[in-house]
Assembly symmetry: C2
Homo-oligomer: 418 residues x 2
């Protein structure tokens, strides 16, 4: 029972902190974020020590390669966290902004004022830098945040959270505005997901299993994306070199991320001309190709794709290819198999570009650009806390604005209803 | 098992209909809504017959007075539904609107395009006119809708839904874009709440019990409000006559609704001067007063308020009154007891009006106007499907725009990530 107290007490403290942050003002929040960057710099020794504990334990547990690397808080990663903090510090403060104001016939002036969401919960896996990145965005938007990181990064996260709390305190803001759950016990996650009276929204970041677990057990709203099965459709009026360059970029520049292309849809008129050249360029980057029947006839050394390929997020140098009759078939394929994440058309034809933009309902729809642009920074939001593939509240990358909501305000001179 | 099929089949048909509606275009949707108004007019006999069945059954079941009245589809109510349809028809179409477009340093043009949410579920209680009002807003925003009305209005709802479906069909839109659950079995509600793969958002409308049931069992996001415990704070620099007029309006003009005032907070300097006069005006309207200790000393015939009064939504001619030391105490009282619905300050003092607007975090915060204005039509949204008191997606009255979301669009000329 001691443990239940603890999670609930942390949540209650976060709720109280949120009420302060709410009216903290832009300058103080900016100061807190700048303090955080300085404190990280000053805390390098302590961070390295805590991180070494986690790394040693992870190695003993058999972790190696890229998984171990993701846990490492190198000087470069600390530098990136500091740069991120300073970047978020200089973003415009969304809180208090009035999105339009209008006057009703009775003279009542009505508008919408942007306000923080309140308390945000973040449940994430190995990378400890999320502790800093997520906290920065939440604080900037005037929210308190409860963090629950992966157990393998526990010491690192605890050290980072303490540093952030000191920086908040030095800026005159409640240290409890950023809190890390103080146990690696898995039951604490379930407990956290029940705290709907204290937490306004939960954001899971990590693998599909974690996200499904959060979505299933959370009592509060969840902002999430499961996976990115992203498509590019190459129309017969595409610029062929541009199409190849975009496909290679979308597949091979960083294959392990959610906005990488997983399925290429090719207009039948390009089957004999463009497709073999594009396949060669993809193979030069080490991409394994899996094609529909028609594709396999054109690319004889292509593996046959099975039904499961069309809904698989490879996160690897593998690409499924389907030759389609026309735009309608491409849009129908996307409607059936898409994860609503990112889809692109390559074409010089305006009517078909317009149709694709209007009829494909994914969080980002592109014309003549790489799917890799589905990212808050790339799209100009300044930074992102995640990409939502569900439609409520936010659809696509979520920046500082998406961590706020609006309330209505109305100013009158005695208006009553008749 | 036959029955499970049926709810799921309806949901699947709604999902398919949503894909059509999505690209239906403004003119066709507007035509459908106008057809609906004409069809209601032409269907008066059938509606009266169906409604008579429901009314007779309800009377046999012991329903009477206002509860029976709410079930009645009089000529006046039909006229109101028709007017509502025509009003919604003429609202601007939110779908396809691009909310801002900006250019990134690499030349990529990025914007946000408004799109429908998809399939909306509405679970509601007795008033059968909700069938028409809710369907109209959902269709206008390009969504399909699954309706589940109260069992006591089942025949009326079925008749109305059929009329709406014929009108859709005549406009060349899928009739399945508006569907009523075809059973009064309560298990069907639970079934509906599991259909997260088909329904994007659930909106419950009715009493607190219904809303809690939906919030607890829904697998999809829920837009809801539980209750309205609305406050008015009368500052010592209020215009006394304006304060009285607003308080009487907020409490007594229609006491049974969620935006009526339930608690009056009065600055101590007005205790002896303004409060007795205001109390007299309220009593003249039949309002029962329940006051804090200080209030009872000033208003000797006032009942003492108990702790529970401060969080009660009376929905009746009852008002709790508390005398406070200052604005801070008023804001603290609201933060503790408010249901985040609607709060107002009456004052001529600008700094305190600004503080109240910024620090009170309810869905509508007013200065010098009645709480009764928290209503989509009154605030200029054209119409409303409900008032959300949770902060995700929509906070406050939800109009046609709140039944949509935005996707990102990006238009380039070959941009790739480096």
């Amino acid at each position: 029972m001691e443990h239940r107290q603890s999670v609930e007490e942390q949540c209650r403290a976060a709720r109280a902190a949120a009420r302060h942050l709410d009216k903290a003002g832009s300058a103080r929040k900016q100061q807190a974020l700048e303090n955080m960057a300085l404190a990280l710099d000053a805390g390098r020794v302590a961070i390295a020590e805590a991180n070494a504990h986690d790394l040693a334990a992870a190695e003993r547990g058999g972790l190696s390669g890229p998984k171990l690397d993701r846990l490492r808080l190198s000087d470069k990663v600390i530098g990136e966290m500091m740069a991120g903090l300073r970047e978020v510090a200089t973003l415009p403060d969304p809180v208090g902004a009035i999105d339009g104001m209008w006057t009703r016939p009775n003279g009542l002036q009505v508008g919408r004022m942007r306000i923080p969401l309140g308390v945000i919960g973040i449940i994430y896996e190995s990378r400890p830098n999320v502790t800093v990145d997520a906290a920065a965005l939440c604080i900037k938007a005037g929210n308190a945040v409860i963090l629950r990181g992966g157990s393998e990064a526990f010491q690192s996260n605890r050290c980072l959270a303490q540093i952030l709390q000191q920086a908040l305190d030095q800026a005159g803001l409640p240290a409890t505005a950023v809190q890390l759950i103080q146990t690696t016990d898995r039951a604490a996650v379930l407990e956290l997901l029940q705290m709907e009276q204290y937490i306004d929204v939960m954001i899971p970041r990590g693998g599909e299993e974690l996200i499904r677990f959060v979505a299933e057990h959370a009592r509060m709203p969840v902002l999430k994306h499961y996976k990115g099965v992203c498509h590019i459709y190459v129309d017969y009026e595409a610029d062929p070199d541009m199409a190849t360059a975009i496909c290679v970029n979308a597949k091979a520049q960083r294959p392990g991320v959610c906005n990488a292309m997983e399925t290429l849809l090719v207009h039948q008129d390009l089957a004999a001309s463009w497709l073999p050249k594009a396949a060669r360029a993809l193979r030069e980057k080490g991409v394994e190709l899996r094609g529909c029947e028609r594709t396999c006839r054109v690319l004889p050394d292509c593996l046959p794709a099975v039904e499961a390929d069309w809904s698989t997020e490879y996160l690897d140098l593998i690409l499924s290819i389907r030759i389609v009759d026309d735009l309608d078939q491409a849009i129908a394929h996307i409607a059936r198999y898409s994860s609503d994440h990112t889809e692109a058309i390559i074409t010089r034809n305006l009517p078909r570009a317009r149709r694709f933009l209007q009829e494909v309902q994914s969080s980002l729809v592109l014309v003549n650009a790489s799917t890799r642009f589905n990212d808050g920074f790339q799209l100009g939001l300044g930074a992102e806390i995640g990409i939502s593939t569900s439609r409520l509240h936010a659809f696509g990358p979520m920046g500082v604005n998406e961590l706020t909501t609006t309330k209505f305000i109305a100013i009158g001179d005695g208006q009553i209803r008749t």
